[in-house]
Symmetry: C2
Amino acid sequence: MTGAGTTGKRRAIQRGVGVALWRQIADDIRGGLAAGTLAGAEGRLPPEAALAERFGVNRHTVRAAIAALAHEGVLHPVHGRGTFARRQKRLVYPIGERTRFSTGLGSQARERHTDIFAGVQESASTEIAKALGLEAGSKVIRVEARGSADGVPVSRATSWFDAQRFPTIAEAYADAGSLSAALRKFGVEDYLRASTRIEARHADEADARDLRLSPGAVVIVTHAINVDMKGDPFQYSRTRFPADRVELVVESQGKTTVD
Amino acid sequence: MTGAGTTGKRRAIQRGVGVALWRQIADDIRGGLAAGTLAGAEGRLPPEAALAERFGVNRHTVRAAIAALAHEGVLHPVHGRGTFARRQKRLVYPIGERTRFSTGLGSQARERHTDIFAGVQESASTEIAKALGLEAGSKVIRVEARGSADGVPVSRATSWFDAQRFPTIAEAYADAGSLSAALRKFGVEDYLRASTRIEARHADEADARDLRLSPGAVVIVTHAINVDMKGDPFQYSRTRFPADRVELVVESQGKTTVD
DNA sequence: TCGAATTTGTGCGTATGTATG
DNA sequence: GCATACATACGCACAAATTCG
């Protein structure tokens, strides 16, 4: 198991694998910023020549990578002074019995908000019906939401609720700004996260649009089921997280909770 | 927020973004197979011409994607008959207090085994020392392991143990074939998973080699801390999972188990 | 057995994108 | 910015294996 050099795991830059070198380098730099292993104290990147040598490529190629990241808003090169990175530390999103969608990010960002898009009623697919314990084809309400931190999208959730039990959940959610508050209007005083399935994949077209991702980016997808205190499932949701802005933490119950 | 059409979320094939079309298509097909949305009953893919039209590219380009996946072992094209996909369903890897490395996959695969590479002693980095509650620079034992199911690598774990407390853990692990059994030799009768941090990223060179992945593939990385029944951490491990062969499930204690 | 349709495999010329110095 | 080399993508044509009436 060769450690890839002294600076820690650097993704190998390979030729002829279908990914342009400048994109491999851009992805690597973005990952290095998220992990905090790149960039010095004031967020300054090593000079282009140094990066070129480190990656074993021409300086032109590094410049192309930096240009792409600058276009994403991650870096700003300043003529004569160097290239600077936007403050970027991954958000930690806790997962456990007490997981709440809109909370849990606490003081990790200066500014946070959730956009909720009006829900629509539709017929439950077999998968969603099963998750909610309904008959296939039952009416459900779908609610779309997007979470941002400091102006950057960090989550994109699609949730389904039983339309009979929660007919106006979308409006209540949008009004209250919090799912917990909205649920109380329907008599759900408290609830638990029953299970969370986690997968990861490349961003598809919708992810790239909604989360402002570049092609080839990685998203973490969670499939969650929330149950009320009687143990009945009432919410099924799929949430997409940009993998370079968010990480998940599973904690055993009773342990530290971030709020 | 338009739902991405009825044909299912198809990753947009984009030109001039630094990723070759054939690689974008290969990633998309691989994802489609894992999700079960591609390939018919007998695992046969649509003909090359149809795929080319669907993706809006030349047939040569689709062929390049198929060739890459064939090289990975995911597809095998047969002259005159079509292109066939290997039976592929994602393994579900449970995460919770009772998570064990080698178990939990139960009957999901016909054949399972774990390769353990002899451990080496080294000085703990600050991160590892902190996770294990040791002084930075303390001696720790690093154990490398790889899990396979039906001959395909599905996990690649690196674990660290306090060298003072578990001097021959690697040998014991290799002999017993199970971590739980090895730990009992050191007086650890039972243990719990205290926390699991989950991130996702592109596969690096080491992942590609150890897990037989192609560049651009996605890996899920877990950082786990196990504690003994007194609550003292004794193992810190980082595990890489190929995202198209594995998904994680977080369950509340005692609750539903996936079958 | 024959032939037509389907599907993968191969060759080649050309245009564009990527990477170097 | 320029010249060079290589990878990528296209379009067209045809060969080879398989299937089916």
